[in-house]
Amino acid sequence: MTAALEVTELYKTFAVGKRLIGPPRAHVRAVQPLTLTINKGETLGIVGESGCGKSTLARMLVGLLEPSGGQIKIEGEPLNTADPAAFGRRIQYVFQDPVSSLNPRRTIRQIMEAPLKHLHGMSKAARARRIAEIFSAVNLRLDFLDRYPHEFSGGQAQRIVIGRALAADARILVLDEPVSALDVSIQAQVLNLLSDLKEKFDLTYLFISHDLAVVEAISDRIAVLYFGSVVEIGPAIQVFSQPRHPYTKLLAESAPVVGRPLTAPEGRETELPDPHNPPQGCAFRARCSRALSQCGLERPELVREGADRIIACHNSL
């Protein structure tokens, strides 16, 4: 299998307390050095709670945010310029809120034509042909083209956004919570559409969500993020049913499931670690019931276990 996307030691630090002259007061690491490979034609799910660095990672992958270090290789070619136009032909981004990712003062046609015109320099006739092709793929009527974004429901708007990403002709889509702003009945429509498109256009997905069940339903493999680092990667069917990292287990047990009694799987006083004052050793240690003395001293490295499991834990399950 060839890699569609390879990320090596990619990290991002943000400066806090910027001053007019001189260095900022402190730095916060939003994404710790992270190494990840997505195979061609695969859907990699990324789960994590708010503040775990999911969106920062996604924005770096499409060139909207310059990495502080590390390397991004798309289809074998390194791209480290943070130039969205260079990234745009190879990797596209589908945003969480479809309504705010469409300019309210442009018609759908103008929105759809932008990537065709600026990334591929297509002629007017070629553009019209391509848009018709894409619209039929995402189940939208062509008479929508002359309307404005506010005339559409969330589900339709998300189809338009997906259509725009397809128009760029990228082989990899980063889907950042693409269905969390939608109602459940519409969510299922969009998830099924994404599966169909993947097959039809031979796409590779990076699917980010906080909803474990949604991620499990669409992914081949799942990576669990905690406090800016990957703590576990494994096949979708196994990650939540047989978690190896204590944090993955906590996530899986916290998700409300029909037929499972209500439990609070951990003490109620716990909070995420403070990014301004990151803990030494394993970031999950304070919430972990299996913590060893070693966990407070050294950060666990990602270690491959078996054929397809990667875990960062000193005392895995």
């Binding site: 969205p84 136009a85 003062r105 049913s241």
Partner: protein, 627 residues
Amino acid sequence: MSFLGLLVRNRLAFAGLVVMLVIVVLALVTPLLPLADPDVTDTANRFKRPFAASVILGTDHLGRDLLSRLLWGVRLSLAVGFASALIAAAIGAAIGIIAGFYGGRTDNVIMRGVDMLMAFPYILLALAIVASLGPGLINALIAVAAVNIPFFARNIRGVTVSIAHTEFVDAARLSGMGDARIILTEILPNVVPVIVIAMSTTVGWMILETAGLSFLGLGSQPPQADLGSMLGEARSALITNPHTSIVPGAMILVIVMSINLLGDGVRDALDPRLRSGALSRPMPSTLVRREEPVPAKETSALLALSGLKTQFHSNGRIHKAVGGVDLYVRPGECVGVVGESGSGKSVTALSVMGLVASPPGVITAGAAHFSGQDLIGANYETLRRLRGDRVAYIFQDPLTALHPLYTVGAQLVEAIRVHHAMPRAKAREHAVELLESVRIPNAEERLDGYPHELSGGMRQRVGIAMALANDPELIIADEPTTSLDVTVQAQILSLLSELQRERGLAIIFITHDFGVVAQLCNRVAVMYAGRIVEEGPTDAILNAPAHPYTARLMACVPELGRGRHRLAAIPGLPPVLDGLPEGCAFAERCHKAKEACRTGEIALTANAVQRAVRCIDPEFRTADAAR
């Protein structure tokens, strides 16, 4: 409503528009009118009174016809005023957009320069500019424009900053657009309304400033007339021949007044916040206009809704958000209300305590008996005493439910003291107990913190503590965990469940998540398009849903532990609430729909023990219910 429609509805703005149009038309046709030459002096006929022979407005100190000078002067003043407004807007907007778009150092350098410009008194700055350029109308125009650039730059920069970070700008970048193109096609169209608003409110001011400079002799040079120079020349004859000052003075007043009225109208009509009625003050409780007989008193439950209908009346359309809901909660019971957005679940909850904003909300039918007392139509004082005391709400977003400028403690203490008079110190003690009861660590310390200093989960705990402040009998929780992470959600849910058991609380829990309902609720009601379609004990419904909508909604939610699978999506969209179809609202999307589904009223009927469904062909019906 269209922009012009909104503008005309504002009477003052319309008056301003009419006056302004008359003045502009007069100024435009001035060269065609049979007027005396404004610059020809005739000292023999100086200081003629108005309405004297052949001169309508009299003559000035050099015997020049005042009417002619006035019209030519208006023409010039308007031209200079509008020109300087355009120049200031164009340059100011360009500066603002560049500063706001690029941000960082560029922004800092530009905006500090603009700040410096603003630090000078405007007239001093204008004088300095004219002094260095020399007197003259064009130089006055430049000075007035320059003085007003900072106003535009600051305004536009603020708007640009918020637009530059929107997702559609990111999307444009990924579509391969460069900075210049993004500014022109993505940012500018969204900034133009703000530029127009800023211009419409400043043109009048700029005409005044130009007149001021001309009055000081720095603007138009004799014999050319503009309103300011006419006033300046008339100054020496102010007492002896007041009409020479009054004529241009009154004109300035009329012009500036009409422009300002019109400008305010334009701003109100263009500003989306004002348009949506966000600034109109809602009434303290929802308007009640019951068009149907009031349902009989209901005392069997703690809260019993019967036949509740809530509508939104706006722009001549009626949205039937809640179309006849019957629901009851007994003490110590947790009832889940499940539905998608637009199903009316939140509006139902808010209607109970008259919290639906009016206008546009109107309760048109039904009753809500709380301990036997009908809350619909109860007077405001009754509702105010009950709100937060015996019936409390927990909202989805605790950050918007808490006041950002008061400490957590101050808000808790206020919530307690509004309903129970007690010394502040005692209320504070109670507040500490409350925070401890929702398991907030370092309660004493957190009391003096502000809401923004807390994490999402901690804020929602404060929201729950506030709901518990007066030991309510009923808590209405509207998606209280939707914006929280799963691990935090599990903590909050188990906390609520514990409080329900320990304190015998009744809870109405509104959510879209069946998993949450299954874990927390004793009974559940499923809503679709403003009505309850199915109701009954949670376990029974989740194991064997009777309404096709419930069944299909449950089927399209991915379930954890099933691995990768295709979801059974429901085709189509929910119906629009201002044109609900006859019969079953779900018929359009239902695979079992037949002719009979689309006619008449389909009632909520019992189909099993303690269960009811609004369907003529439910998934199942037990024998004893059919009897």
